[in-house]
């Protein structure tokens, strides 16, 4: 033991004296500090959130996340330190000293391992210190800081980091000890890193939570799983417990580490490996002494070396060296395997897959494989540049009559061929995966364009940089370090507020491929930046040449002298050309991003919102006209990405007071070009604030109460060039989807334009605000929550677009014709609609059908025929169910119109449903798969329901109004789905909804609210809403719920102000609820109620008549939570299902029992073999841990 200690001590001492150790320490310290500071708001423009703006940055949860996340990037450091501890003897060739000393294997290996571990613990301690340092910085948002607790800093070390260091360190140690090389260590770190990324993909399918938690070697996923349902209060105060998934994960991986070390100990030998021994040159000695060559005759006059011709040959030699290396094959193979693993969850929603269309494959490869590619490029750049020097061959090669640029460019060329090869591999993989999934529309052209035309260029840029870096630095590992720092800088620049791409060499310039719009307008920007970066690359190449090491060149001064000597005419000319190109392309880009368009950062946008509120809030209650009629002429110019809207609004003054001033707000701000704006009463423009988009007019004569008026307008939103980030995805070459509000003004001040989150408001000195008016607020009930400036309006529109496109607007098509190269359409509505409309234009294919007298139409992109029948079937079933149970459908047409995947939602406009390419058209619902959920069907049913819930009954601008629209749409869709697919499928769907509700509440930015007061929070009105309404149907009966909904329609459809609020629905439901269940109304709609029910045991015995008597013990717990998640226990006086299920999950028995005690036992008799039994077996109630509601039945 003493010897082990001595060896460990020596290792520790020598490492601590190395500067690299302290550099690692400093880097992690700085990273943690910066990260914490940014999350805490110290950096104005940064945007890092730990799931919620309310979680303290030094809470146990947040620190745990930070340490785990940064620890992942420390993987390379772990490899460097742990692997080198044992590999250094082979590298420095000192192994003989140690192998011949009287020490045992375990002493040497153990000592080195312990030494390395101590160093790692020290280096990674920098992270906690960095977080702590971050909390001490000035400028922090005080709301983000909680009390400093030692436990919060120390616990993540023991639960997450230390086990990671022990086992990952062990793994790298073993790899380095047995292979005696560092390469397996690098390989391992990449594979581990990507393994983590892959497990993220598996998480999308909920069933794999356990698997995902266990295969995650860092314990990050397991930690997230243990805390995923914690509320905000819990995340701020509770220490992350060492239990459940986390404990098992840690034990598993420590066990793996122990096994690995044991293996290492077993296989390690204090010996020379056989292949290192000198080979006997006896064979050569056998030959007769060769006659001395007549050197005089062989003297060849060396001609000028034809360098250019040699270039391909040399490059080929270098390339061969890389590719033939077995490790290269393993690297590539690992990447491919991860690709395949991730592809299994490709694009799935609710666990249901999509067709593996080519753009998905391409996006998959660029995502998953990118890390491997970068590692390979970085690593091999180092290997190539340092090759001769490492083999001690450089003095020979440097003295050859070969121009200096030749080896440089040969190596660069070889390196650049590597990504070409790998892209080919990826293409083959992609095609293979598509074939394996039964999809044959390969679109090879798309593969080629994306993989080679776009991605390859990015990788080539990295190649040049890597070679230039390795050429300039004095140490290979320093070069690697610089490259990693570069990757991190690019990755984290934007969240830290550095947004402009002009200074981010090699940054990914955003683009999205859509089957509808192809690459669309993204290409010019992409190409401009690629050309710009390429000119940088040219400059880097020049720098690489100037500083290329040839011969022995000690010190920097000498290198500068040598560089100056290399500045010959061609070199200078190249540099000048590079600078010139950089200037031209950079100038062109700058002109587009900063001159043609204002350069707007995320911070700027927020500032604009803050200024809107600060300057115009006073106008909130000023009397404004209300719109009663809309007549529009919309001109869409797809290829110019320009839209022009002109026409008029019919106005009326619904206020008691007269109106003198009218205020208009344009959402697109200074992007809007106003050609004309005139009221029927002459008016003066009193304020024109284009930055915020406000225009104020003072009427020459006042508009009396009750008077009618008119506003004529002609506005346009053009697109000029391109911007640094983001783009106009509304009006595109094919697949335009433009909302009226894109160009048209809103009348009056709208609090929709204000900053919403408390954190953002604090940043600009605004007090926190309530998200919505209280439910009973009479002012709020005067307007619906869709638009503040209109109730129901009449609508006509004339739309023009390109000759070969078809335009769609709300309304029935009256006429269409082509004139002057433009396609004209006239649409008119026959009944009033909400002031909510959009226009679409594309080259569609059409599928038509009917339901009664309703014309059903699906306008889609040719090629996306997969789910049309499904959508139409859903439409028919929905229209049928809803008109039978709620009320008549108010239109005579129903259109589903596809739009590009730039946004992934579907939206319900009057009789028109724009439906994103990405969420239903390429879904692949496998009928026989019991796990697949038919989400195209579901989404269609949901959007159809909105024709009733929103377009007939609409809530006021108060809390809880989305209960009437979104929640009821969810309910409606669920009932339609249940009709087709049965209860069992609904269970799976509801399980997802429950999971997402619980996760959603943990990510709450402000406060959770009961369903009846929901403030537009998705996780409540969609997820909780589904669960609650489904439970209502279960408890009081579907017919009764529908009865209540029918009553709602009768009372409120198409009625203007005062609008109904959630109470309308709640009261209607209460009326149809039997007395013993009335408590659920309050529990589910007016409070936040959570159960923690579980079954503890279930036994059964077979009776004489073949039936079974089942005894089941259950525990029930009911809690109510406040807004931040603090829970209190509530006494039980509830009716909860007690059930027995058979092996297929079908209930043999299910009945609601009155439960008043925490622990109860029930006896039931069932016909059929019981498999599981418990409380609330179908998870109808909201439960924190749904899976423990039933247990397996023990049949005696």
């Amino acid at each position: 033991m003493g010897t082990l200690g001595a060896i460990a001590g020596f290792e520790l001492r020598t490492r601590l004296k190395r500067m690299s150790t302290w550099v690692y320490f400093a880097v992690f310290f700085a990273a943690a500090m910066l990260w914490t500071a940014a999350a805490g708001g110290a950096i104005q423009s940064a945007n890092i959130v730990f799931g919620s703006g309310k979680i303290w940055i030094n809470s146990p949860y947040a620190i745990s996340q930070t340490v785990a996340f940064l620890g992942m990037f420390g993987l390379t450091v772990m490899g460097a330190l742990a692997g080198r501890a044992v590999q250094q003897d082979f590298e420095h060739r000192t192994e003989a000293f140690f192998f011949t000393a009287p020490i045992a294997k375990w002493q040497l290996l153990g000592g080195r391992y312990v030494g390395a571990l101590l160093v790692l613990v020290l280096v990674f301690a920098s992270m906690a210190l960095g977080v702590f340092g971050g909390t001490l910085l000035p400028n922090l948002d005080p709301e983000r800081l909680g009390p400093t607790r030692l436990g919060a800093y120390v616990i993540p070390y023991f639960t997450v980091l230390l086990p990671n260091l022990v086992w990952i360190g062990g793994l790298f140690f073993c790899a380095a000890a047995l292979s005696r090389r560092m390469l397996p260590v690098y390989l391992g770190s990449v594979i581990l890193l990507v393994g983590y990324l892959a497990s993220q993909g598996l998480l999308r399918d909920i069933d794999n939570k356990l698997l995902a938690s266990m295969i995650d070697p860092f314990g990050v996923v397991a930690t997230a799983r243990v805390t995923e349902y914690w509320s905000i209060a819990e995340r701020n105060t509770r220490l992350v417990p060492f239990e459940g998934y986390l404990l098992w994960n840690r034990l598993l991986w420590i066990g793996v580490g122990a096994l690995v070390m044991a293996f290492c100990l077993y296989r390690f030998r204090f010996a020379y490996p056989a292949d290192r021994a000198r080979k006997d040159r006896g064979a050569a000695d056998e030959a007769a002494p060769a006659p001395a060559a007549r050197l005089a005759a062989l003297r060849v006059e060396p001609g000028r070396v034809r360098a250019l011709a040699l270039l391909p040959r040399m490059a080929w030699l270098y390339l061969r060296d890389i590719v033939r290396n077995v490790y290269f094959g393993v690297f590539a193979l690992a990447g491919v395997l991860f690709l395949i693993a991730t592809s299994t969850t490709l694009g799935s929603i609710y666990g249901t897959a999509t067709w593996p269309v080519t753009y998905q494959m391409v996006e998959l490869t660029s995502g998953t494989f990118a890390v491997f590619m970068l590692v390979i490029i970085t690593f091999y750049a180092g290997e190539l540049v340092w090759r001769e020097r490492e083999h001690r061959f450089d003095q020979i090669t440097d003295a050859l009559p070969v121009p200096t640029w030749l080896p440089l460019f040969a190596k660069l060329l070889a390196l650049m061929v590597v990504p070409v090869i790998l892209e080919c591999v990826l293409l083959l993989c992609g095609v293979a995966i598509q074939t394996a999934k039964g999809y044959h529309r390969y679109e090879i052209g798309l593969y080629l364009h994306d993989l080679f035309g776009i991605e390859l260029v990015s990788y080539w840029l990295v190649c040049v940089l890597a070679i230039a870096v390795q050429s300039t630095v004095t140490h290979k590992y320093l070069g690697h370090f610089i490259m990693i720092a570069y990757y991190l800088a690019i990755a984290f620049a934007t969240p830290l507020g550095l947004e402009h791409n002009l200074y981010k060499y090699g940054a990914t310039i955003g683009y999205t491929y859509s089957d509808m719009n192809g690459y669309g307008h993204f290409m010019p920007r992409l190409r401009a930046f690629q050309a710009y970066y390429a000119s940088w690359a040219l400059l880097f190449a020049v720098v690489a040449y100037l500083f290329w090491t040839r011969g022995t060149v000690p010190g920097w001064r000498a290198r500068l002298v040598q560089a100056r000597a290399r500045l010959t005419m061609p070199v200078v000319a190249t540099a000048i050309v590079a600078l010139g190109l950089m200037g031209s392309f950079g100038g062109w880009i700058f002109y587009n991003t900063n001159v043609l368009n204002p350069y707007v950062t995320a911070y700027d946008r927020e500032q604009r919102q803050a200024d809107y509120e600060k300057q115009y809030k006073a106008l909130e209650n000023a009397p404004e006209p209300t719109i009663t009629g809309v007549a529009l002429a919309v001109d869409i110019f797809p290829f110019e990405q320009r839209v022009r809207m002109h026409g008029h609004f019919d106005l009326v003054n619904r206020n008691a007071a007269a109106i003198r001033d009218v205020h208009l707000f344009f959402a697109q701000g200074d992007n809007v070009v106003v050609h004309q704006l005139a009221f029927d009463i002459p008016a003066q423009l009193t304020k024109d604030d284009p930055r915020i988009g406000v225009r104020s007019y003072r009427l020459d004569r006042e508009m009396a109460a009750g008077a009618i008026g008119r506003l004529d307008f002609d506005v346009e939103v053009p697109t000029h060039g391109f911007t640094n980030s983001g783009s106009n995805t509304t009006v595109v070459y094919n697949g335009t989807f433009v909302n009226g509000l894109f160009a048209l003004p809103v009348i009056g001040y709208s609090d929709r334009g204000e900053l919403a989150t408390d954190r953002d408001r604090r940043k600009f000195g605004l007090a926190p605000k309530e998200r919505m008016r209280p439910r009973e607020d009479p002012v709020g009930l005067q307007h619906n929550y869709i638009s503040h400036d209109a109730d129901f309006v009449t609508f006509t529109a004339e739309v023009t677009t390109d000759a070969d496109q078809w335009a769609i607007a709300p309304g029935y098509l009256q006429r269409e014709w082509i004139e002057g190269g433009r396609h004209h359409f006239v649409y008119a509505m026959d009944s009033p609609i909400l002031n909510f409309y959009a226009f679409q234009s594309a080259r569609y294919a059409v599928r038509r059908d009917r339901w009664n007298d309703v014309a059903i139409e699906v306008d889609y992109q040719p090629g996306h025929e997969y789910n049309l029948d499904r959508m139409i079937a859903a439409t028919r079933a929905s229209l049928d169910y809803y008109s039978r149970n709620f009320g008549p459908y108010q239109h005579h047409q129903f259109r589903i119109v596809e739009f590009p995947r730039y946004a992934t939602f579907a939206q319900a406009f009057p009789n028109t449903i724009p439906f994103s390419e990405g969420i239903g058209f390429i879904a692949r619902v496998r009928e026989n798969d019991k796990d697949d959920i038919d989400y195209p069907y579901y989404v269609t049913a949901h959007e159809a329901a909105h024709q009733w819930w929103a377009h007939q009954v609409i809530g006021g601008d108060v809390q809880g109004s989305t209960l009437l629209s979104e929640t009821l749409a969810q309910y409606s869709a669920l009932m339609v789905m249940k009709q087709k697919y049965g209860e069992a499928k609904m269970q799976k769907f509801l399980a997802y909804e429950l999971d997402r509700y619980l996760i959603g509440r943990a990510g709450e930015q402000k406060k959770e609210l009961p369903l009846g007061r929901v403030e537009n929070q998705d996780y409540i009105h969609y997820r909780k809403g589904s669960l609650v309404m489904y439970a209502m149907a279960d408890y009081i009966g579907e017919e009764n719920v529908n009865h209540a909904l029918h009553a709602l329609i009768e009372k409120y459809a198409f009625k203007g102000p005062p609008y109904p609020n959630a109470t309308a629905l709640i009261d209607a439901l209460r009326e149809v609820t039997p007395p013993q269940y009335k408590y659920v109304i309050d529990d589910w709609f007016e409070s936040i109620t959570l159960y923690d029910n579980r079954a503890t045991s279930a036994t059964a015995r077979k009776l004489a008549d073949g039936r079974y008597e089942v005894t089941v013990d259950v525990v029930a717990n009911k809690r109510k939570a406040d807004e931040l998640g603090k829970e209190t226990d509530v006494p039980l006086d509830d009716w909860i299902d007690i059930g027995v299920l058979d092996a297929a999950g079908v209930p043999l028995y299910r009945e609601k029992k009155h439960i008043t005690a925490e622990k109860t036992t029930f006896n039931v008799t069932v016909a059929g073999t019981p498999a599981r039994a418990g409380i609330d077996p179908l998870n109808i109630l909201i439960d924190r841990r749904p899976k423990d509601n039933t247990v397996a039945v023990d049949i005696k």
């Binding site: 020598t14 000293f97 192998f99 000393a101 020379y272 021994a277 080979k279």
Partner: protein, 304 residues
């Protein structure tokens, strides 16, 4: 009773089929023992096997009563090994690394270690640079460090493998002096292809070639045995081939541009040949060239 290293029938064949050692049998007494042979003869293989770094396929080796091949730990306690090809930790000082190695060799008491390390560094003349990082040492200094670590812990068996290759003449002399200072009762095996190292230092030797021991014993005896049998002539470049073909040439050398040919024979081998004093080099070349057994008077110790 003096310590001996008894090697019997040691054989080793590498996986690629190369027979590195073929039935090597040697008895090595205390003092300087020279193992002579060309590159690839199997010297390093033998050295590594004795230094417990490699296993043999067959045979035994005993150091006193220690089974060298099996009882590796016991050997290591008494071993000092200077490998042919070694490096150093570049960023560690000479003193620190030597101290660490001393600790591993079993010198657990710090004061004892400190004294030993200082003494050794002085002995190899590295004391002045003891605090400097080893990365900055020249080839000769590195070699001296190597010898210092080999001498740690008063070893009884010291193996030095090709120690003077790459040293300049002055360093070589210094190195020889170092070795000569090593006390009695220590077995020092000096493995080399430089004949003068052996002739300068060693009281016993063996010549090994293609894995076989060609002869072993007292160098002086072998040299004297060749007395009167070495003939030398200066010939021109063109006659070299012919000479090689027709005569038992053991070595050729260039002197001031002319070829000097040495031949082993009982009688004058031809006109122009003069007898010269045999040197160990002649013994070596003759043995390697397979010419020794031709001469009946030579005491060949072991059958080849």
């Amino acid at each position: 009773m003096a310590l001996t290293l008894d090697i019997r029938g040691l054989s080793k064949t590498y996986p690629n089929g190369v027979r590195a050692l073929s039935d090597v049998t040697l008895t090595i007494p205390t003092g300087m023992f020279g193992l002579l042979g060309p590159n690839g003869a199997g010297k390093s293989t033998l050295m590594r096997t004795l230094a417990t770094l490699q296993d043999a396929d067959a045979g035994t080796a005993t150091l006193g009563d220690i089974d060298v091949l099996r009882d590796k730990d016991a050997v290591r306690r008494r071993l000092g090994y200077l490998p042919q090809d070694f490096g150093v930790y570049p960023k560690v000082s000479a003193e620190d690394l030597l101290d660490h190695l001393a600790r591993l060799k079993g010198l657990s008491r710090r004061s004892e270690r400190r004294d030993t390390v200082a003494a050794l560094l002085k002995q190899v003349n590295l004391y002045d640079v003891r605090r400097k990082a080893l990365g900055g040492f020249s080839g000769g200094m590195r070699q001296r460090f190597g010898i210092a670590q080999a001498l740690l812990g008063n070893p009884q068996l010291i193996i030095v493998d090709e120690p003077t290759a790459g040293l300049d003449p002055e360093e070589r002399v210094r190195f020889h002096n170092l070795l000569a200072e090593i006390g009695a009762n220590v077995i020092v095996i000096l493995s080399t292809h430089i004949v003068s190292d052996v002739s300068d230092l060693c009281s016993s030797m063996a010549i090994i070639h293609r894995g076989r021991v060609l002869l072993a014993g007292d160098p002086g005896v072998f040299t004297r045995a060749l007395k009167g049998q070495i003939w030398q002539k200066t010939i021109g470049h063109e006659e070299l081939e012919a000479a090689r073909a027709t005569l038992p040439v053991i070595s050729t050398r260039l002197m001031a541009g002319r070829n000097l040919v040495n031949v082993v024979a009982n009688v004058p081998p031809g006109p122009g040949f003069v007898p010269v004093e045999p040197t160990l080099e002649d013994v070596y070349f003759a043995a390697i060239g397979g010419r020794l057994s031709a001469s009946a008077d030579v005491d060949t110790a072991v059958p080849a």
